[in-house]
Structure formats: structure tokens, C-alpha cells
């Protein structure tokens, strides 16, 4: 049996190695053709270049970078010259027009005077000076004026045609140049050159900055039959009081760190019920870009890869608040913390990815684990990590495939293992399965119309330690909860949603945060653009734990400044 296991292990390694094709000593044997290609590759560089030139024949012209620059410079000079000429021409034209206008005025005056002279020759009006002019003199002046006008017109049209000609030659030459440039091998640009530490790297934009910065503001106005909305809503970013709530002010930085890593950081500002502002580092992590064997490491502090919704930031949610089960098991702010995540992309034709996340199990963002505020009424006795056995381990597997051309499914299963704070050897396990399905029209305009359906079911096994002061004995608490939601983008910019929530009751609960509950939430969202939204949501809460119902209405609004972060599926 041992041998068999060993063989399987070897086989597994082989799969990894072969599919990555990274290890030459094996790959050489397997990839016969490739090794041939590399042989050819190792021909002297000069030869390929020669080939290139002959193959290109007459259609392509190689041009040296400096020559190209010179020509571009010349073209620019030409352009400036043209602009100057045009200005000059325009000013001259204006001058001439002014002259013409003056002459015209003079002519009219003269005509008037002449006619006046003709009609009132015998009775001159006192005060006006009169000029007597011969009829033939006047005709001569008028003729001159007309000739001048026609000359000017000729000049104007000549100028126009010349200008047009010049413009045309300029345009055609510019185009010719561009064609030549395009057909010539690309000039050495930072994009194709080799990297050096002093050179800026921009992975996702042609811009000049080293990182993208964005700011997202998420606010809500709430009305509710519950006096204290804070005991009804489980999320840290949910509307938490009647009136306005600043849900989330998030600044995100992201970009390539160097050829090996990309980095991202999300810093959150919030204003609590007392008007105090506070700051939270929600996420700050780097992701490896070039590990072998289809592996990837993410390290820093980040949302745990558990379930579907947990890694999403509040502004990307389809609802104004988070599902009850997420708030109860994974915590008001979601399950997150400092740690590292290793993931492996299976070398199959459809998408399957394995994750294993190791994080600290302490702090308020590890709600069901070594949280300073222990659950089930216990006093927290263990709040620190002692060794590897006290870390929070979260394995996850996820797979995705297309059902049809228009439908895609993403399935996942996760578990989180870690100690909790109620005793020395007390552990918590949260496990869950999740499903996301999306239909999007073949002819989608701006991503509409679409329908998504997302469901998560989670269970939690919590070993609650003995607390003799509170009179609580050693026991195991099993709880579960689920939500299912549908979003229907029925018209460009409009999305209608419906979510159902259920959580069972926790032992010793004193408010709706721990009671058994049903909740139904319809909503309607309008997106004026990709960068803003307005959402109206109604929550019907059926709290079985104390036989009451509550009604809440939220009006949520969001704006996004700065670069548009890419969406996840």
C-alpha cells in the first residue's frame, strides 16, 4: 500500500511538471517538436533578420528610430508652418475685409452725396459740407472698387486652394509615415524592451502613473419599524440607524509592483453612530504573477477565500446589506485577516481552482474564532495565536463551466478551521457550499439583459468552553443558515433583485442578532452610469425567536471616482 501511495505521489508530481512544461529535463523528452523549435531558435540572430528583409520585399520599409523622429519633427515643423500661414492669411484677409468695408462705406457716402447733390443741388442744407463730383469720376471710383473686390476674391480662392493642397499633402504624408512605421519592426518601446528597475511598469493602462487610484462612496438612508436598526442588521457596513448611514468610503490603490507581483490596498473610512470617523485597513495584499506549476500566492491582509460573497467589497453587493448568515458566522466585517493564500489552477480545460488560506485566527475580523468578544455568552480566555495549530485554515475548491452559450455556472465548497476564544482546546469549523449562475443575452447591450442566481448554505460547529462565572457548561453549538438571491437586469441600467434569508437560533440569544429569523428583501437598482447607482430596498423580517416582524426600507446611493476596477465574475 505504501508503494501505491508513493506511486500516486510521483504521478501527481508528474502531472504538475508536465502541464507546466517548466522543467527542461522532462519537457525535452515529451515535447519533441518544441525542442526542434528551440534548435532553430538558436540560429544566429542575423540570419532571421536577413530573411525578414527579403520576405518583406518592397512593401515594407525599415526605418531607424532617429530617422523616424527626424521626419516626425519635420512634419511637426510643417504643421506649425501651416498654422502660422493660416493665421497670417486670416489676419490679412481680415485686414482686407476691413479695407473693403471702409471703401464700401466711403462709396455709399459718395453715392448719397452725389444723389443728394443731384436732387438738392439748388438748395444745399446748411451745415453739411458738400462735394461736387463729376459723374464720370464717380463711375471710375466705383469701377476701381469693384475691380479691387474681385481681385480680393480671386486672392482668397487661390489661398484656399493652396491651403487645401498643403493640408492634403500633409495628411497624405502623415498617413504614409504611419503606414511605414506600422509596417516597420516596432521601434524599441518600453513595452517590448527588457525590464530594468528604473523603468516604470504599467500593466493595465497606457497611462504614466504607477498605480490606479479610486474612491468609492456608499451611503444609505434608512427607515424601520425597529427602534434600534443595529440589532437587526448583522453587517458592519449595513445601514445601522434610522436616518443616514455612511456605509463605506473606500480608497483603493492597485497596480503592478514589479515583474513578479501586483499589489492592491483598500483603505476604508467610516463614520459611526456617534459621528466619530474611523479608519480601517480592509485589504492590502500582493499577488504573485510568475510562480511555476500554476501556483499563485497572495499575501498580506485580505478577505478569506470562503464562499461566494465574503471576498466581495460592499459596493459590489447586489443588496444594501449583507446576508444574515454571513454576518453571523463570518462576522460583521466579513472574515479577513493577515495571512497568505496559496492557489493552484488545475491544468484542465474547464476552470477548477484549489485554494488554501492560512490566516491569524485572532481579532474581531475572525468573528467565530479567537475574537476578543467570545460568542454564546462566554468570557474570552484565549485571544492569541500560540503556534501553527492555532492558525485559521481555509481550504476551498471552486469550478466553473458554461451550460450553454449564454449561461455560466460557478460552484464552490469551502471550510474554515480554527480555534475559538472560549477555551484552550476549543475549535470552530465553518463549512459551506455556494452556487452562482448567470444568464446573459447573446446580444447584450452594456451587459443587459441578464439574470443571476446566487445561493450559499453554511453551517457552523462551535465548541463552547465552560464559563463557571456565567454558569455555562462545556457544550457544542451547531448552527446553520442560508441565503438565495436573484438579480434581474431587465432593461439597460435597471436591475430588480429578490433575496431570501434564513438563520436558525443561537442558544442564549437575547436579540434578533441571535434569534431564529426569516427575511425577504426585494429591491430595485438604477445605474445612471457604471460609476453611480441608486437602490431602493425593502426588508421584511420575520423574527421567530421573539415572535415579531419588522419592516425596513433603505435608499442606498453610490459614486465611484477614479479608475474603473475590473469586475469579478
Amino acid at each position: 500500500m505504501k508503494l501505491l501511495r508513493f506511486l500516486w505521489y510521483i504521478l501527481f508530481l508528474c502531472i504538475l511538471v508536465i502541464n507546466s512544461g517548466q522543467w527542461p529535463f522532462l519537457a525535452a523528452g515529451v515535447y519533441g517538436e518544441v525542442s526542434l523549435a528551440t534548435d532553430k531558435d538558436s540560429q544566429p540572430a542575423g540570419m532571421t533578420e536577413e530573411q525578414e528583409e527579403t520576405a518583406h520585399g518592397t512593401t515594407e520599409i525599415r526605418i531607424r528610430r532617429d530617422e523616424f523622429d527626424e521626419i516626425v519633427g519635420q512634419l511637426q515643423g510643417m504643421k506649425e508652418l501651416l498654422i502660422n500661414m493660416k493665421q497670417d492669411y486670416e489676419s490679412r484677409l481680415k485686414e482686407m475685409q476691413e479695407k473693403i468695408a471702409a471703401l464700401e462705406k466711403e462709396r455709399i457716402q459718395t453715392t448719397e452725396e452725389v444723389s443728394q447733390a443731384a436732387s438738392t443741388a439748388e438748395a444745399p442744407v446748411a451745415g453739411t459740407e458738400e462735394v461736387y463730383i463729376k459723374k464720370e469720376d464717380y463711375d471710375e471710383v466705383a469701377g476701381k472698387l469693384q475691380r479691387m473686390e474681385s481681385t480680393l476674391e480671386n486672392m482668397e480662392s487661390a489661398y484656399d486652394t493652396r491651403l487645401k493642397e498643403i493640408q492634403e499633402t500633409y495628411d497624405s504624408r502623415l498617413e504614409e509615415m504611419q503606414q511605414k512605421v506600422a509596417l516597420s519592426p516596432q521601434p524599441a518601446s518600453p513595452e517590448s524592451g527588457t525590464w530594468s528597475p528604473t523603468q516604470p511598469i504599467t500593466l493595465w493602462s497606457l497611462g504614466k502613473s504607477y498605480m490606479n487610484i479610486s474612491f468609492d462612496g456608499l451611503f444609505a438612508a434608512a427607515g424601520s419599524t425597529a427602534k434600534d436598526l443595529g440589532t437587526l442588521e448583522t453587517g458592519g457596513h449595513d445601514p445601522n440607524q434610522r436616518g443616514f448611514t455612511v456605509q463605506n468610503l473606500e480608497t483603493t490603490f492597485d497596480g503592478a509592483v514589479d515583474p513578479y507581483f501586483t499589489g492592491q490596498a483598500s483603505i476604508i473610512f467610516q463614520i459611526d453612530q456617534d459621528g466619530e470617523s474611523f479608519l480601517e485597513v480592509e485589504e492590502a495584499f500582493l499577488t504573485s504573477m510568475s510562480l511555476p506549476l500554476n501556483l499563485q500566492v497572495k499575501a498580506g491582509t485580505f478577505f478569506t477565500e470562503f464562499g461566494r460573497l465574503n471576498p466581495f467589497h460592499p459596493h459590489a453587493w447586489d443588496f444594501a446589506d449583507q446576508p444574515l448568515v454571513n454576518g453571523r458566522f463570518l462576522g460583521p466585517d466579513g472574515l479577513r485577516g493577515p495571512g497568505a493564500r496559496l492557489s493552484w489552477l488545475a491544468p484542465t480545460n474547464s476552470y477548477t481552482e484549489l485554494f488554501i488560506t492560512v490566516q491569524n485566527s485572532q481579532g474581531e475580523t475572525a468573528h467565530s474564532f479567537r475574537n476578543e468578544e467570545a460568542l454564546f455568552g462566554r468570557e474570552a480566555v484565549e485571544t492569541r495565536v500560540r503556534g501553527m495549530e492555532d492558525m485559521l485554515y481555509t481550504p476551498r475548491i471552486t469550478t466553473s463551466f458554461d451550460l450553454t452559450d449564454e449561461q455560466t455556472v460557478l460552484l464552490g465548497a469551502s471550510a474554515a478551521f480554527g480555534p475559538n476564544s472560549t477555551g484552550r482546546d476549543k475549535d470552530t469549523i465553518i463549512y459551506g457550499i455556494d452556487m452562482f449562475w448567470k444568464w446573459k443575452s447573446h446580444n447584450a447591450e452594456a451587459g443587459f439583459p441578464f439574470v443571476t442566481w446566487q445561493t450559499e448554505i453554511m453551517g457552523r460547529r462551535f465548541e463552547a468552553g465552560e464559563d463557571s462565572d456565567a454558569g455555562l457548561s462545556d457544550e457544542i453549538m451547531d448552527n446553520w443558515g442560508a441565503y438565495s438571491q436573484i438579480a434581474w437586469g431587465f432593461k439597460k441600467r435597471w436591475v430588480a433583485g429578490l433575496r431570501g434569508d434564513y438563520v436558525d437560533g443561537e442558544d442564549g440569544a437575547t436579540d434578533p442578532l441571535g434569534f431564529e429569523r426569516w427575511r425577504l428583501s426585494p429591491n430595485l437598482t438604477f445605474y445612471p452610469s457604471e460609476f453611480s447607482k441608486i437602490r431602493l430596498q425593502y426588508n421584511y423580517d420575520d423574527i421567530l425567536g421573539n415572535d415579531s416582524t419588522e419592516h425596513s426600507v433603505f435608499l442606498q446611493f453610490e459614486f465611484l471616482l477614479g479608475s474603473h476596477g475590473a469586475h469579478k465574475f
Binding site: I18, G57, N349, N443, S529, A566, H567
Partner: protein, 306 residues
Amino acid sequence: MKLKHQICFYLFLLICWTSTVHAKLHVVASTPDLGALAREIGKDKVEITSLAKPTEDPHFVDAKPGFIVKLNKADMLIEGGLHLEIGWLPNLVIGARNQKILAGTPGYFIAAANIQVLEIPDVMPDRAREMGDVHPLGNPHFLLDPFNGKVVATNICNRLCKIDAANSAYYKNNLNDFVQRLDRKLSEWQKKLEPFKGAKIVTYHKTFSYLAHRFNLHVIGSLEPKPGIPPSPAHINNLIPMMKYEGVKIILTETFRERKTPEFVAAQTGAKVVIVPIMPGGVKGVEDFIAFFDYNIHQIVSALRG
């Protein structure tokens, strides 16, 4: 034990075989037009995957996890650039963990390089979005000018020759052939549209600026008041008399747009609605780059003649 050895051995062989099946060069193109150009150059030496569907709006493509697998196996990624794919491609590339398609490698090519970009907004970036969903780097629909297809094809050929030097003569031959065919067609199209030089047209979105620029059509307005903002009654009410006054003959719109507004405006102004795909493959049977322009130019010319 012996049997198990054998099973392992055959599994091993199977895995070796599946890995060698992918001896062809894998090229992933973000959009089908880029894919069509790559196909002209690579032909049967290259396997091409286009991520966006030819029928959908290329600004809003779902970042499906399946794309990660395709990018993971790619030898080359062709991206349009000018922020066309900014909403969906970056996370996929991170997820793909493929060194061959990172910036600075021959396997990562931005098609917008060396293109004369139109409509770069001339306002400060902080005000740019007042103009609607404008692209700060300029209009990204540059492949609707067939001339730019030549530029992009040439650059793709250069990259393929770098990645797969053994077949470079083959790629260059294909390029020469393609360029010759395209040149012939380009003058044919220009001749066809010559009688309509300066014809005034209205488009739904600012998609067709490059096409209009190449063939001397004059876009005097769009049904969208601003890029990405759906047509509003006020804007349409202003547009209709303007179109009548200017004698606009056609309203050019993409296959994925709603038809109601263009048809309403057409009925009011006597113009014709011309629905054209913006990607090869957007209409069945019109799969390659040249056939795509043949189709579109034919549609436009016959509407202008009408």
C-alpha cells in the same frame, strides 16, 4: 500490484499525450476582430480564442472563470487597448498566472500601439466623465477602419515571428497575402463610397468614428446624448429637426442595440436604419476581416443609394 503499475503507466502516457496535443501556438484575443486578424496571419499554425462574443458589447464582457484557463494556456494575448477591456480583462490576467503574457514580453500585445487614435478627450481627466462614458485615451473602436487592420496585422505578424521564429516565413507570407487582398479591397470600398463623399449620417454610439473617417462620411450626431447615456426624449426631439435640415440619409447602429429609438427617429426623418455588426462573426457567415467590411460597406452603400 502489477495491474496498478500498468494503470499508472497508462495514465502517465495519457497525460503526456494531452500535453503534446497543444503543440500549436495558442493565441488569445480579447475581441473577435483581433482574433480574425491573428487568424489571417497564423492560419493553421495557430489556435485562436476570442474572449468576447462578436455579438455583444465589447465594453461589458463577463469575466468568466473559464477565460482564466484560456489565458493560462496562452502563448500570446492580444488586447485592443485604450481601456476597452479595462472592466473585465485585468483580473483574468492576474488569475491566469502566465508569465508569457505579462507586459514587457513578446506574448503581450496591445493593438492600439501605432494607431492614430481619434477623439482623445481634450478636457482635464477629472471632468472627462461629464461627457459620458468617454475613454480617457481616445476612441477604442479603431479596427472599424480597415487600414488600421493592416497596421495591427503587421504588428501581430512581427510578434508571432518573435514567439515562433521557426514559422516566421509562413507568417510573413500570410501577412503579405492579407495586405495585398486588403489593399485591393480597400480601394474597391473607397470607390464604392466615393459618390457619397461627405454624406451626413447619424450613429447610435460613437462606435463608427473610424469607419466614417476612412470613407469620408460625416457623422453629425448620435442618438445617445453622450457616450453610454441612453437616448433621452429631449435629445431626440432636438436631433430630429436637425437631421431633417441636414438631410441625413442613414442611422448607423450596432447589432446589439435596441431598435426602437433608431426606428422611431427614422420614421420621423425619412432616414434609413442600417444595422451592422462591429466584429467579424457578428452576423452569421461573415466571419473574416475582409468579408466583414464587404458586408458593412454593402449595407451602407445600398442604404445611401436607396
